[in-house]
Amino acid sequence: MFEIFKDAIVSLAETSGFAGLDWKAIVMILISFVFMYLAIAKNFEPLLLLPISFGMLLTNLPFSGLYNPDLFIINEEGHIDVLNVLTNGGLLDLLYLGVKLQVYPPLIFLGIGCMTDFSPLIANPKSFLLGAAAQAGIFITFIGAALLGMSATEAGSIAIIGGADGPTAIYVSSRLLKPTDNINTGTIALAAYTYMALVPIIQPPIMKLLTTKKERGVVMEQLRTVSKTEKIIFPIAVTVVISLLVPSATPLVGMLMLGNLLKESGVCNRLVDTAQNALMNIVTIFLGVSVGATTQADKILNLSFAKVIILGVIAFGIGTAAGVLFGKLMYVATKGKVNPLIGSAGVSAVPMAARVSQKVGAQENPTNFLLMHAMGPNVAGVIGSAVAAGVLLSII
């Protein structure tokens, strides 16, 4: 009997997580604690970062079996064996299917569209140019990643971090990256959401460096009132134009504009309420925890993750700088009517980047109300980053 008891204890010990705990798992668990602290105590994009960090914790606890990366290897036909995932997958494998099949990011964009007011952009369409300029951060980072020896798929996935759009970064990286790459979607998402939270820290020094006091003090004319009809035509027009130009951007741009049209029509309030609340919250939980589950030790504790971190901040910085520089160009072209600070809001971290423009402008002139002017480039950046994502997916 004692032998049976002893064998049972030994068997339990061998199958317990303690037996599988190595230094890499311990480090990853500690990293997950750091990100949880940043999300909870420092309020770093908590809606995504907390589920991501907890997913990181779950996946790095030994023998949890919640996520199995081998199930997501592309087969000879170029697809994931979904039946295999459904049959043999754990909880997070099943939830991750929504990421791998590009379902979650467009649904999040649907909710974002319901919450976005495009009036500042419609009132001042030139803001689109600032939204386009800020996407230069994506493409210049692509060059940097290529020079560091990364593959096209890795470079494209890292570059999209410069768009400052979490769902877009997840969408592109889940389409481009293969299990054999040194980085994965979780790596990209972690970097993207961390840097989005750091926008108020990264942007102001760049904005002040590239502008003069006089430029920062420019007070812009009040925006015109936008009619309801214009607000209804806008999402339809954007969908048609962008989808015809870059069809691979259609899932993101189409769902963003669908959400906006539902809101602006005024006749689908129940759908709007669901899309921006229940649906978005459900998808956010599934997306966050399943993406977090992909952040296993072998994908994080390597040189490539360090490159992602460095290139990510470069992408953000270049995007901010490009937006501000284009804003300076518009300042000159309009003979001082455009405040260059709104150019930095072209990165699509809505509404944080617009708030940063307002704050830096107010430091120069406390009565200067730049927020609504900055919202134009900010929401244009969402469209711009989705177009840039479509271009990367088409070419790479």
Binding site: A123, F139, R224, E230, I242, L245, V387, A388
Partner: protein, 127 residues
């Protein structure tokens, strides 16, 4: 050679990406600006129509004023009659009366025409 080919591919991706993003958003600028101009013009037309209506309203307000000259002509006759009556009183009393002003007894809009009032008084005098 392979690195050069990779660099050319990289720059092709970058240039294509920037061009397509700018092109797409420029197309949107053109379309949205056109719609904006259309609605701005429609708004201006509405405002012009409103200001025409408000111009017509003052014109209607002056029309009652134009009626005043008709009343003024009646007033002149009334003043002439009053002057004749005062002159007759002067002859009777032997005192020279001078008319300093003539003012309507009501708020300027008589409920009844002066002649009608006079006729009514004459007709009802025996009672």
């Amino acid at each position: 050679m392979e690195m050069q080919m990779e660099l050319s591919y990289v720059f092709a991706v970058v240039i294509t990406g920037l061009v397509v993003v700018f092109l797409g958003l420029v197309l949107l600028i053109a379309f949205i600006s056109l719609i904006g101009a259309f609605f701005k013009k429609a708004d201006q037309n509405k405002k012009a129509a409103k200001s025409e209506k408000s111009d017509a309203a003052p014109a209607q307000k002056t029309a009652p004023a134009a009626v005043k000259p008709v009343q003024a002509a009646d007033d002149d006759e009334v003043i002439a009659v009053i002057s004749a009556a005062v002159a007759m009183m002067s002859e009777t009393d032997g005192t020279v009366y001078r008319i300093k002003s003539v003012r309507a007894a009501s708020n300027g809009v008589p409920a009844r025409n002066a002649w009608a009032s006079a006729g009514l008084r004459e007709s009802t005098n025996p009672f």
